[in-house]
Symmetry: C2
Subunit: 343 residues, 2 copies
């Protein structure tokens, strides 16, 4: 059996780490790379990854051409958070006959923000016989797939609360920037409203995914993000934060059913915050799960995108969500073993 053939669409921070991770894996190879950045186009991917050897994969800005030529089994897409912006890119991939796994946060449950685009994309994917999945660590796992999975032992569920707290100082530059480190509270609010920073994207998508898994009909979703204000001088590898400036973000998504809060997902991403996740399910039985080590977001996103490859290659065509596929798990053996149709 041939190696699983992968294209990388978006050779930024995440795409680069995805590529490096795949190079360490068995039964899988990179056959194409797409990016629009003039500094990257025309260069060998190995050079961009800082490797000593070339990989024989030249970064191209012409996705259609390179995908049609290289015939990847799956394209790992990591360029943006909002489906309306990246929709033409996803369509290019699907039109080329490749399955898609994307980090695009709003694609994790696209029917919430983009019902029409979702229907079009589902139809196109089915026509082309490929699967499209939005995944990642959050949305994609902590607030949704994992939460839904943990309720599997429950006869009843009244209310769900999922919390993710992380020390922003440990994250890479783009993350620290998108949560507004060092801004004044006014700048934070202005830039967030203007879309210049996003902080976390996907509270609503996670809520809707859980609700769909459980069969809950959500009648309203609220999303709120506020700055965490520094009380003393703080410093990360990239930012200096003075007292009164933004040290991070605190955000919520709340899902209501019959006007009652039933799902709450909470984020604290701030310099010096504790690293942990906590999932509290009120029902029969009550559950209180906590990961005391915290899940490092960048490693986890890369891992999840790549670990979902066998699931997507074996799935039926169409636009799917994480809860419709078998659960993710680390791929530690040869990818070809997990992709065989009879396994």
């Amino acid at each position: 059996m041939d190696n699983v053939r992968v294209a990388i669409y978006g050779v930024g921070a995440i795409g680069t780490n995805i590529a490096k991770f795949i190079l360490r894996k068995r039964g899988i190879e990179i056959v194409a790379a797409v990016d629009i950045s003039p500094e990257k186009v025309g260069k060998d991917l190995g050079e961009i990854l800082g490797l000593e050897e070339k990989l024989g994969v030249v970064v191209s800005s012409d996705a259609s051409e390179v995908l049609f030529k290289s015939k990847p089994d799956v394209t790992l897409h990591a360029t943006g958070s909002f489906l309306d912006k990246v929709y033409p890119q996803i369509v290019e991939i699907v039109e080329a006959g490749s399955n898609v796994i994307s980090t695009c946060e709003t694609l994790a449950y696209p029917y919430y923000r983009y019902p029409e685009l979702s229907e079009k994309l589902d139809k196109l994917a089915k026509e082309r016989g490929v699967t499209v999945l939005g995944s990642g660590v959050n949305p994609g796992f902590i607030y949704d797939t994992l939460v839904a999975t943990l309720t599997g032992v429950c006869e009843t569920v009244e209310k769900i609360r999922a919390v993710r707290s992380l020390d922003a100082a440990k994250r890479r530059y783009p993350f620290q920037k998108k949560i507004g480190l060092g801004l004044s509270p006014e700048e934070f609010k202005h830039k967030l409203d203007a879309g210049e920073i996003t902080a976390h994207v996907g509270y609503a998508e996670s809520i809707m995914l859980v609700a769909k898994a459980l069969g809950w009909k959500i009648d309203k979703v609220e999303e709120i993000q506020e700055p965490v204000i520094a009380e003393k001088d703080l410093e990360t590898q990239y930012f200096k934060v003075k007292p009164g400036e933004v040290a991070g973000v605190r955000g919520f998504g709340i899902g209501y059913m019959n006007r009652k809060e039933v799902i709450r997902v909470e984020l604290v991403a701030a310099v010096g915050a504790e690293d942990y996740e906590e999932i509290i399910i009120e029902g029969n039985p009550n559950l209180h799960w906590r990961n005391s080590l915290g899940i490092p977001g960048d490693i986890a996103t890369v891992a999840m995108i790549v670990n979902m490859i066998p699931r997507v290659l074996k799935a039926q065509p169409g636009l799917l969500t994480m809860i419709e596929l078998p659960p993710p798990s680390a791929v530690l053996g040869d990818f070809r073993d997990l992709v065989k149709k009879d396994v």
Copy 2:
């Protein structure tokens, strides 16, 4: 759309609770009940459940006849732990054209202990166009499906340890009996060896399920169970335990790859033991998840068996395991909404 039609095969402690749970759910109904006990055969299921009204479902000892007549979409099977013993029952269900979800522990990963029966059953299920699944809380979830799912965020995994600790005093009589409460340590050993008590069944099945999900090739599995000895007088609703007698069981399953321990699942089920689960994954990243409330086994088994119904009704035919289906989640709405083919 019609209700989902369910048959209960085995109206014992678990089967009874499954039936009661289903009666509280929407879009699902019980159409048949099978048991061999002379005290139950011929009685209305409502009577056996202690309800005031009859359900119009008479318990039958002739599974073939009642299943052919009632045409259940799925039969929930809860009679025994070992596939060789219950195999003829599962075959009856499959021959009648019904999907099967069974609490049979060794069916959770039947290829380990019963490779030939597994192949026969898979072939038969495919011929009849039905899905067969072994599920439950453990094996089926805590030591396996959940563990595999938690590794989804990992790039590498070196070693896994899953611990379940529970206070046996809170469990029902058959559970307290099967872990040997009140026996002498010699009696415990004798009865365990003779199969008169089983304690926990399924350490190996859980290990093999996780290994299959991750693509690990396990070369040896060890299973060990030892009595926990009382140090003082203990008492449960059903047993009195004197110092020196058996107060519970401590068990392990260890999976080795290349002669190195890579998966360890541990159980402590003893009077007065703390209720919790803990899943520790050594890899990149390290994870340390803990449920500080503990999952009550009986509720959870019943919930899991019923919550898997929509997954099984939408699955391809054949003998499947939990890691090949979408993750479990509580079914809180109408079962019919989750069973529709296009959802």
